[in-house]
Symmetry: C2
Subunit: 448 residues, 2 copies
C-alpha cells in the first residue's frame, strides 16, 4: 500500500471511530510508519486520533518515534486533561522525556494532577543532569530483601505491574544497598525453597547515577546484559537502565558524533525550524570563515609567484582537495576508534604513525600522477615536480592532523568529533598552499 | 591502576596459573579492558592465558571485543585442539563469526571435530548471505507445540541449556510454522493449567532469513522487543536474533555510514594492515583526484582573468572552503535522516528546500562579511560584490548538492552515504569556482 493510501486508510478508521480496527492497523504498520502517518494528519483528524488512542501503550511507542520538533508540536496541541491521561501511569523515563517538551508552567500543572507516587519518581530523575544515568533510568525497579526465599521472590514478580519491564530481580539489604541480582530465568529454574541469597549473582555490575549514559550503554553492550542497575554514591539501588534504552543511546550517540564531525549541533535535525537552523549554522560557519581567511592569507603571501605563473592557481584546488579528503579519512578512522574505545594507551601513537605513512604513500602515487599530468599539460617538468612533492607532504600532514586533532580533543576530555572536520581541512588547506606555493616560489625561475 | 600495571598484574596471575584469581580480575576489568590487555601480552604469556581460560564464557566475551585483525591473529595462533575446545558448544552465531577468521581448510578440520548437532547449525547459518538475518541468527531457539500446557512450557524452559539466552518461548504447529510467542515473564504469571495457545501473543513480529540484518535491528528497536524470530519464506521458525546482537548491528551500521561518508571501506579500521589500507584508499583517492581535476579545469577556463586580477586566487579557497563545509553539513543531516528512516515521501523535498534556504541565508551573511573584508583589504568594491554574490550562490548549491546526492543514491537503492562526501565537495568546488571566477570575468573591467 502506498503512503498516501495508508494515510487515507487511517483517516477513514479515525473518522469511523473504529478503535479496535485502528489499533490493529497501526500495529501492522509499526510505530515508525504510524508516526509518519500521524505527522501527515490534519489538526482535526489528529484530535480524533488522540481521542481514540489516549491512553494506549501503542500510542506511546508511536509518539517516541516522532522527531523532536513534531513531538513538541503535537504535545503542545493536546489539552491538559489529554496530557494528564496520556502521562498517567506511563513509565517514568518516557513521562519525563515527554514533559520536557512542555513549558515549565504546564509541566507543573500536569505534575500536580498525577498521583503522588508517579510525581515523586519524576522528581527523582529530573534532579539528575541531562544525559546522566540517573536522568534516563527507570525508578520502577523490582527488588527483594536478601533474607527472602525464591518462593517469595516469584510471588513478588507475579504481583508486579504487568507493564513493568523486568529482566532481573535485584537483591538489597535492609537499608536498600544493592547486594546481588537474580535473572528472571533463574527464578523459573531454581528450587522455590532456596533463599535468594543462595541463587543470586553477588556484586553485580552497576552504574552510578551521575555517570554519563554512555557508560551504562558500554556496560550493557560489552557484558551482553539486559539491564544495568543504577546506584547512588553509597550504593543504594535507585533504578535500572534497560537494554531497549541502550539501543536508543547507541543510536543517538552515533548521530551526535556524525553531527559534531560536520560542525552541526545535535538538535539541528532535518525537522528543526528553518530559522533556528540558520542561526545555529551561522555560528559555526563564522568560525569556518575565519579559518578560510587563514588559507586566503597564505595564498596572499605568494601573490607575486601566482602573478608570474598563473598555472599555480589552477593546481591549488587539487592540492587542497586531496589533502582535505585524506585528512577527513584519517579523522573518521581515529574518531570512530576513540568513540568505540578500540584504541588505548600507546596504540594511538602507532595509529598516528600509520595514518602518516598511509597519507604519504597515497600522496606518493596520486602526486606522481598529478605531476605527470601537469608536466604534459603545461609543458613544464618543474611544475610537475613541485606538485608531486607538495602533494606527498600535504597528504602526510593530512594523516598527522586527522589523527592528532581528535586525540588532543580527547586528552582535554572533549568530544573527539567536536568540529574536527573544519579544523582538519583548515590544516590541510593552509599547509597545502604553504608547501605548494612555497616550493613553487623556491623553483620560480624554472617555472616562468 | 594504570594500564601498564594492569598488564603486569594479569601477567603475574597467568604465570602463577591462578585461574580463579585471573577470572576474578578479568571480570573486574570487563571484557573491553581485558581484550586490550590480551592484545599487549607476549606470545608465550598469551599461550598460558589460553591454556588457563579455554573454555570459559568470559574468554568468548573478551575475544568478541578484539578488533577484527587482532582476533584473526590470535585465532590463527591457537592449535587445532585449542580451537576445537574453544568452539565446542559455543553459541552458533559466535562460533560462525570466529570460524570465518580461519582458512577454509582449517574451518573444515575443526567443523569435523565438533558434534554433529553443532555442525548442522553452523552449516545452516553459513548458507545465508553475509549480514542477512539468517547469517547472524541463533538457530538455538526454544519452541513448544501449540497443544501443550503452560506447565509443560515451564518444564521445557527448566530443562533447557542454562547458557541459552531465552527471552520468549515460541509456539509452533506440527510442521514448525511460527504461530505465536510467550514472553518468559508470562510463564511465571500464568496459571500452569492453561494452554499456551490461550496465553500466547498470536502472529508475532518476525523477519525472513534473507532480509538484511538492519531490518531485524529496526524491528527490535522500534517495538522495544528482546528478540525477533527468524522464519523462512513459508514461515517455518529457523532461529532468533536477540537484543544484544541488535546493539552490535546498530553500532556497526553507524560505523559503516561514517566510513562511507568519508570514502572509506568498512574493513579499513584503525588496526587494518598498513599496506592493505594504502591499497584501499588509493582506489578511492584516484576517483577523488579525477574530480579535483574537474575543479582545476574550471579554474583553467578563467586563467586570463586570474592573471589580470591575482586577488581572485586569494579568495578562491574561501569560496570553495565555505561551500564544501556547508555542503557537508547538508549531506550529514540528510544522510542521517535517511539512515534512521526519519524522512519519507514528499518530506524529502521539503527538507531539500530547507537546506537550500539555509545555505542561501548563511551565504548571505558570511558572503557579506567576506565581501566587506575583500573590499577593505584590496580597496575594490566590485571584488567584494562579486564575492558576496558568488558565496551566496555557492552555499545554495551546497544545500542542494548535499541533499540531492544522498536522495539519488537512495533512489537507486544504494547506501546514501556511499562516498557522498567527495561528490559533494567536487560539486561545491566546481560550482564555487564557476560562479566566483565567472562573475569576476563579467565584472573584469571594474576589478583591474
Amino acid at each position: 500500500m502506498r503512503f498516501s493510501k495508508q494515510i487515507e486508510f487511517v483517516r477513514r478508521l479515525v473518522h469511523a471511530k473504529a478503535r479496535p480496527k485502528l489499533v490493529h492497523a497501526l500495529e501492522k504498520l509499526g510505530p515508525l510508519q504510524s508516526s509518519r502517518i500521524l505527522k501527515q494528519l490534519e489538526e482535526s483528524d489528529r484530535q480524533l486520533f488522540f481521542e481514540l488512542l489516549i491512553p494506549h501503550a501503542l500510542l506511546d511507542k508511536i509518539l517516541m518515534e516522532l522527531p523532536e520538533n513534531s513531538l513538541t508540536e503535537i504535545l503542545l496541541s493536546l489539552s491538559e486533561s489529554q496530557l494528564t491521561t496520556l502521562l498517567y501511569g506511563m513509565p517514568t523515563d518516557m513521562a519525563w522525556s515527554f514533559l520536557q517538551h512542555l513549558p515549565l508552567e504546564e509541566q507543573n500543572t500536569i505534575l500536580e494532577r498525577l498521583p503522588q507516587d508517579q510525581r515523586d519518581k519524576i522528581a527523582m530523575v529530573s534532579q539528575f543532569p541531562k544525559d546522566s544515568c540517573g536522568e534516563i533510568m527507570h525508578p520502577e525497579v523490582m527488588s527483594v530483601r536478601i533474607s527472602v526465599s525464591v518462593e517469595i521472590a516469584i510471588q513478588t514478580v507475579r504481583k508486579s505491574d504487568p507493564h513493568l519491564k523486568v529482566f532481573y530481580l535485584y537483591v538489597v539489604d535492609d537499608e536498600g544497598h544493592l547486594l546481588g541480582t537474580v535473572p528472571l530465568r533463574s527464578l523459573i529454574r531454581e528450587d522455590p525453597a532456596n533463599l535468594v541469597s543462595q541463587v543470586m549473582i553477588p556484586n553485580p555490575i552497576a552504574v552510578e547515577a551521575l555517570q554519563p549514559r554512555r557508560k551504562a550503554a558500554q556496560l550493557v553492550a560489552q557484558n551482553k546484559l539486559l539491564a544495568v542497575p543504577v546506584v547512588d554514591e553509597t550504593h543504594h539501588l535507585l533504578g535500572v537502565i534497560t537494554v531497549d534504552d541502550v539501543i536508543d543511546i547507541v543510536q543517538e550517540e552515533a548521530t551526535e558524533e556524525m553531527y559534531h564531525l560536520a560542525g552541526l549541533s545535535k538538535d539541528d535535525g532535518i525537522f528543526a525550524p528553518w530559522l533556528k537552523t540558520v542561526r545555529k549554522r551561522l555560528a559555526w560557519m563564522s568560525i569556518n570563515l575565519f579559518t578560510a581567511f587563514l588559507a586566503a592569507w597564505v595564498v596572499g603571501l605568494f601573490q607575486e609567484s601566482i602573478s608570474k605563473v598563473v598555472a599555480l592557481a589552477i593546481f591549488m584546488p587539487v592540492v587542497a582537495g586531496m589533502g582535505g579528503n585524506g585528512g577527513t579519512q584519517a579523522l573518521t578512522v581515529m574518531t570512530r576508534a576513540l568513540a568505540l574505545g578500540e584504541v588505548s594507551g600507546r596504540e594511538v601513537w602507532r595509529a598516528m604513525g600509520k595514518e602518516i605513512f598511509v597519507g604519504g604513500s597515497v600522496g606518493l602515487f596520486t602526486g606522481f600522477v598529478t605531476g605527470l599530468i601537469a608536466w604534459m599539460w603545461k609543458g613544464n617538468f618543474y611544475l610537475g615536480l613541485v606538485l608531486w612533492l607538495a602533494m606527498m607532504l600535504n597528504m602526510m600532514i593530512a594523516g598527522f592532523a586527522g589523527s592528532i586533532i581528535p586525540m588532543t580533543l580527547r586528552a582535554f576530555r572533549l568530544d573527539p568529533a567536536l568540529g574536527s572536520g573544519v579544523i582538519v581541512t583548515t590544516f590541510t588547506d593552509v599547509c597545502g598552499f604553504m608547501s605548494f606555493l612555497g616550493l613553487a616560489t623556491l623553483f620560480l625561475k624554472y617555472l616562468v
